[in-house]
Amino acid sequence: MDPRAIPESFHIEPPRGWFNLRLREMWKYRELLYFFVWRDVKIRYKQTAIGVVWVVLQPLLTMLVFTLFFGKLAKLPSQGLPYPIFYFAAVVPWMYFASALVNVTNVVVENQRVITKVFFPRLILPFSAVLSGLVDFAIGFVVLVIFILSYGIRPTFAALLLPFFLLLAILTVLGVGLWLSALNALYRDVRYLMPFIVQFWMLASPVAYPSSIMPERYRWIYGLNPMAGVIDGFRWALTGHGQAPGAVIVASSVMVCLAVFGGLIFFNHMEVSIADRV
């Protein structure tokens, strides 16, 4: 249907209200969201000489380093899993999280030219950055599954919960990313903070070690980090080994929902002036 068949009117006025997501408008611009994701993916694979290989190589090499240093040398416990599996199952979701978080943070600043020249719901940008990272994740995930099967580990029904953990990871990126991307548009030094944020966050998540080494009475604080639940959940759902996330995941989910909600309000609030400030 020709979109012009429906006459369209809109009203322009000074910003008012503190929460107006205009979801209908987002829906109207869904094709643009697709194009932004498509652009990100295309450019990412064009700019690297070896393209897809790089996407596989990155988590594989990280896994090898972890296996060697944290596993073979430091001899950290691995919940009865072979080290490569133990690390790979955590590195794949972690890498999605880390790269998507950095991309979301930079997305408004990187698109400032477009933002100052054309109207579209700005919220599309962080959404596109969250989604485009999923392509890398999907490739890594396929390799991960092949890897696990080749080790003779058979997934259990717990694997059905994987989409939930992935969703939790996506929402975590979104919840934190919305804050960071709006802040980054205001203060460019947020960009310089990112490597530290990502690094500390990784140490605070059970990527390089199992969460069981955390003393029981601090476990609830640990659960406030949604990525702890995600990483534990991934390992558990894929291999059937390790910690089945319990109450912790509820705390994580609540945290994430709060972060997303707050992030939407904050981004929305900043959105009206983003074109004036970037």
Partner: protein, 405 residues
């Protein structure tokens, strides 16, 4: 019966000057907070200025409206508000119809992507649906004359090719309301003409257009009505031909005397182009003499001062400069008249700067506003990027080189 497509009422836009001026780094804000914590909480922390003040505009369906005014008069801000890129601080607007805005050529282009990919991407960003782009794709490519290179990454394009493709995409946008900002000033002349033709088609097709341009002949040709913005306010609204002439008149003779406060030993008050060669149409001839006059008011006698002049293009490149020392002036009004045997400038916006210094101490240093608009015909290389700064006529002869020493 005419229906209103755009109605804007009492639109004002306030910017905070500090916002753009500071580096936008958190550490600066923190530093400010440490130095003067109270300031942070007071409203007067940043200097405000109004880019638009109480602007009301009405555009009928199918009308082509021109927006004219000096740099910084608020034309682009108004377009940005009407296209919803930024929101007004006060006032409201009602828009009836799908809006397409063209504030730059090549919005959303990415150098790594091919021409084909960029066509889709830019089209989508400008508001076309995927289906619409697919349908018009062949037309766009042949309009841009890039059939052979459409699968080449645009980073390998010449700037002319880039602009052609970018404009071709934009020209095939078919919104009911089109907002255009100065984008026709690019590309080679032949392609510019083609785009103007396309714009004319758009206008004739009954679409509503608001066009911002410094090329006043374009405004004259395409627009029926013109809104003249001055300092963020509507100075005048009326028929295109009449207003453009009035505007040109205003542009060629500098500011009013009261625009510059009367202070100091001496002051430049205004400037104007003079002489027989300057036609009423404000077209600077490429050949022949041009004179420019600056009016100086001297309040106290000046002895042996330094006077300098500079001509800048819109990118602040100094194109021409001159200076004299040992100027002595009695109180009163003085005219400084420069006569240039030729002023071979390409079409565009230029500005003057005149100064008086006494032993290195500034008496007056005036960056002349308004700018000078040159609306001459470019006679050099047909591709803009190869034409250079100057519009010098040339004559090429090719003959056997037997006699070449």
């Amino acid at each position: 019966m005419t229906t209103v497509a755009i109605q804007a009422s009492g639109i004002s836009k306030r910017y905070q000057r500090g916002m753009a001026a500071t580096s936008g780094l958190l550490r600066d804000t923190l530093a400010l907070a440490l130095r003067s914590p109270l300031k942070l909480f007071r409203g007067d922390r940043k200097e405000n200025f109004w880019a638009l003040k109480d602007v009301s505009v009405e555009v009928n369906e199918g009308e082509v409206l021109g927006l004219i005014g000096r740099n910084g008069s608020g034309k682009t801000t108004l377009l940005k508000i009407l296209s919803r890129i930024t929101l007004p601080t006060e006032g409201w607007a009602e828009i009836h119809g799908r809006v397409g805005s063209l504030l730059e050529v090549g919005t959303g282009f990415h150098p790594e992507l091919t021409g084909r990919e960029n066509t889709f991407l830019s089209g989508a960003i400008l508001g076309m649906s995927k289906q619409e782009i697919s349908r018009k794709f062949d037309e766009i490519v042949s309009f841009a004359e890039l059939e052979k290179f459409i699968d080449t990454p645009v980073k390998h394009y010449s700037s002319g090719m880039y602009v052609r493709l970018a404009f071709a995409v934009a020209a095939h946008l078919e919104p009911e309301i089109l907002l255009v900002d100065e984008v026709l000033a690019v590309g080679d002349i032949r392609f510019q003409k083609k785009c103007l033709g396309k714009m004319g088609d758009v206008a004739r097709a009954g679409r509503t257009v608001i066009l911002v341009s410094h090329q006043l002949n374009q405004i004259r040709r395409l627009c029926q009505r013109v809104v003249w913005l001055d300092g963020g306010c509507v100075r005048k609204t009326g028929p295109a031909a009449e207003l453009v002439s009035a505007y040109e008149e205003d542009m060629t003779s500098g500011t009013l005397e009261d625009a510059r406060p009367a202070e100091g030993p001496a002051q430049f008050l205004r400037w104007k182009l003079v002489g027989e060669n300057r036609t009423a149409d404000h077209i600077l001839p490429s050949e022949g003499e041009t004179s420019i006059s600056f009016l100086l008011r001297v309040n106290q006698p000046l002895h042996g001062v330094h006077h300098g002049i500079g001509l800048y293009d819109q990118h602040r490149h100094l194109l021409w400069g001159n200076a004299v020392d040992g100027v002595t002036l009695e109180p009163g009004l003085h005219e400084f008249r420069y006569t240039l045997p030729t002023l071979p400038l390409r079409p565009g916006v230029y500005s003057w700067r005149v100064a008086l210094y006494d032993a290195g101490v500034r008496i007056d240093d005036w960056e002349c506003v308004p700018n000078m608009h040159v609306v001459t015909v470019p006679i050099t290389h047909y591709r803009d990027e190869s034409a250079g700064f100057l519009n010098i006529p040339s004559n090429l002869q090719i003959h056997p080189a037997d006699s070449f020493q």
